[in-house]
Amino acid sequence: MTLLLQSDDSLAMRLLLIEDDRDAADYIRKAFREAGHVVDHAADGEEGLALALDGHYDVLVVDRMLPRRDGLSVVSELRRRGEQTPVLILSALGQVDDRVVGLRAGGDDYLPKPYAFTELLARVEALCRRGAPQSTDTLYKVGELELDRLAHRVSRDGKDIPLQPREFRLLEYLMRHAGQVVTRTMLLENVWDYHFDPQTNVIDVHVSRLRSKVDKGFDVPMIHTVRGAGYMVREGLK
């Protein structure tokens, strides 16, 4: 299980965690380290802001309620100073309007507490821009699987795979984060733009449909299920 949590080793990130709850911070640091990432920690907003400004981090994880300077203010101050590092906001407030406020302050993602660490890890990795395809890229390529964003065409081993529009978007999102775990809620948020909890695992059925089109007739699967976490598109591994 621990092994499966780990993504591609070449993607080791430098993270800054701004969180005042020491227990939670210790747990997150440890878990991120086990996943192969480097984590610095700040226990209040001012310290966090100072570190974020000269630390060259790949991703910032900011708790919303912090002593001395609250999380949203840290993010908006960073943005005001032109610091574009991706930010994930953690918050005990999980309603739609709270999320909107968080994103408006300059956050790139918003995760309500309590969360599963796998969810946090997957989202942080998805935010990291290093090594990720640019949003301007028109062709995603993972092994023999190709997705042409302009022509809306998918092929594997040179053979066209006809997909429904939603299936196309699903595969597109998975391929943009190839080598990274993508959780079900990330798919629901980014492919369907819904932030609620669908109770039943509707996403699984969509992925298995997509899988039946992409992996059918091939020995090696492209779409992998990461137990307890979500899905991942990557090459190889029988």
């Binding site: 999980g94 309603q95 739609v96 309007d97 909107v100 309590p114 599963a116 939603r166 369907w192 819904y194 932030h195 609620f196 909890d197 669908p198 109770q199 039943t200 695992n201 509707v202 059925v205 969509h206 449909r209 307890g228």
Partner: protein, 470 residues
């Protein structure tokens, strides 16, 4: 300032009393000026009359003098003085010696200047030193004679007294009656306010079922009582809801929490290998995820019911949501043996997209769980969106067992699950959330028979076709 008794100072402080006092003051001032004007006018009239009379007598007497000399004049004066209520007469020769008069005493220097003026005089028939006011006219006759004719004007003051005295009394009566009336009215108002205050104190003390008395007169107090009672109804309903939720939370959150704890303790006690611990931990995490889900749903319902989300409402394309949610659930429905179809007319509503989508998702989710026909054939779910006048009708119907009519009211209550065994997954909050979302949007949720199966209808106020585009 002297300290007034408490009850009186309370009376005086009321709005009703202050208003009344102000009206009384305005009215009294008005009456005062009215009376003043009348009195002044009367006095003017009397003075003009007196002056006219005096001038006529002067004319008559000087005529007598011209016709018959001093003798005839004296005779005429003499005759006139005998009449009751006669004028004042004085005739003097060029040396200032008085030839004829009916006045006791009069300042003689008056005779120097011809014309009219006011003066004091003493009456000849009174011995005292009392002086009376008179209006006199002095007239020069040929031959150096001076004739003074005048009239007593004490009468004028009497008339004024006649007007002013009763007016003063009337004013006093008005003020006193006004004050008494004010106190009466104010006390009535105070009594109703006091009753309301007493009731609200009882309610504040914790008896939420108390209501303000309505007299049925339909006055402003009744209106106030009505709206306060409506507010109390709402508060009571919310409080009962809150109590129910806390009871239900106690039950539905404590049960899995206990299970969670028992399982963790059991795993510790029994011990075992790593695999056993791992399994125990995994179920613990699963259970806590379920707890969080229930908790989130409860929070969402509470928020929707509190109406906070109303600030974030925008024009929402309901047809897009219907198609989107259908598309999201179609593979799952298909896998579970149901055909999901959607028919959506273009309708926009003023609302929160996320909540509306979640509501529809909950309905579809229910239909997938409970919509399989009894006979074991393939099920079908139909999502239908249409517009009827000002109402958007969003229907989800299935061909399952449906809900018995007696239970239809109950299903929207929190944590109610008709499936008593609770064998199928679910928190029992799905329909409560749908109902809360419906209320938030000013709509309602109804259950009907799809023969066979259940038809759930979400009615929402639709926007005008042009409204959403603006």
């Amino acid at each position: 300032m002297k300290v007034l008794p408490r009850s009186i100072s309370r009376l005086i402080r009321t709005t009703a009393f202050k208003l009344l006092a102000a009206y009384l003051m305005v009215f009294a001032l008005f009456a005062f000026f009215m009376i003043g004007y009348v009195a002044w006018h009367t006095r003017q009239l009397i003075e003009t009359q007196v002056a006219d009379n005096v001038a006529a007598e002067v004319r008559f007497l000087s005529e007598q003098y011209r016709m018959g000399g001093v003798q005839r004049l004296v005779f005429a004066i003499d005759r006139r003085t005998r009449r009751p209520g006669s004028s004042i007469y004085l005739l003097a020769n060029f040396a200032g010696e008085v030839i004829a008069t009916n006045v006791g005493d009069l300042p003689l220097n008056l005779l120097e200047a011809p014309g009219t003026q006011f003066t004091f005089y003493r009456r000849s028939d009174e011995a005292g030193a009392k002086e009376y006011l008179a209006f006199v006219q002095v007239f020069m006759l040929p031959g150096g004679y001076r004739l003074l004719v005048g009239r007593d004007v004490e009468e004028r003051d009497t008339v004024r007294q006649l007007v002013v005295r009763p007016a003063q009394w009337a004013l006093a009566v008005i003020v006193v009656l006004g004050l008494l009336g004010g106190i009466f009215v104010t006390r009535r108002v105070l009594k109703r306010i006091d009753a309301m205050t007493a009731t609200s104190e009882v309610i504040m003390a914790g008896n939420l079922s108390g209501r303000l008395a309505v007299t049925g007169t339909g006055d402003e107090f009744d209106r106030l009582a009505h709206s306060l009672n409506a507010m109390l109804d709402r508060i009571e309903a919310l409080m009962i809801g809150l109590k129910q939720v806390s009871d239900n939370i106690a039950h539905d959150l404590k049960t899995p929490l206990t299970r969670l704890r028992n399982r963790a303790e059991g795993a510790l006690r029994v011990g075992g290998d790593e695999a056993a611990y791992r399994a125990a931990l995994e179920t613990t995490i699963e259970e806590s995820a379920g707890l969080i889900r229930t908790f989130d749903a409860l929070l969402m319902i509470t928020r929707a019911e509190a109406g906070q989300a109303r600030d974030n409402m925008v024009s929402v394309d309901l047809a897009a949501i219907a198609e989107n949610v259908a598309e999201l659930y179609e593979p799952l429905a298909d896998e579970q043996g149901l055909d999901l179809t959607v028919e959506a007319q273009p309708v926009t509503v003023h609302g929160v997209r996320e909540l509306l989508a979640q509501a529809l998702a909950n309905l579809v989710d229910n239909a997938i769980k409970y919509g399989l026909p009894k006979d074991g054939g393939r099920g079908r779910i139909r999502i239908c969106l249409r517009r009827e006048g000002d109402t958007a009708l969003l229907e989800v119907s299935d061909a399952g067992e449906g809900i018995p009519e007696a239970d239809r009211e109950r299903v929207v209550e929190r944590f109610v699950r008709l499936d008593a065994s609770r064998s199928r997954p679910g928190s029992g909050l799905g329909l409560s959330l749908v109902a809360a979302v419906a209320r938030l949007h000013g709509g309602m949720l109804t259950f009907g028979d799809a023969a066979p199966g259940l038809r759930v209808t979400l009615r929402l106020p639709a926007q005008d076709v042009t409204e959403g585009l603006a």
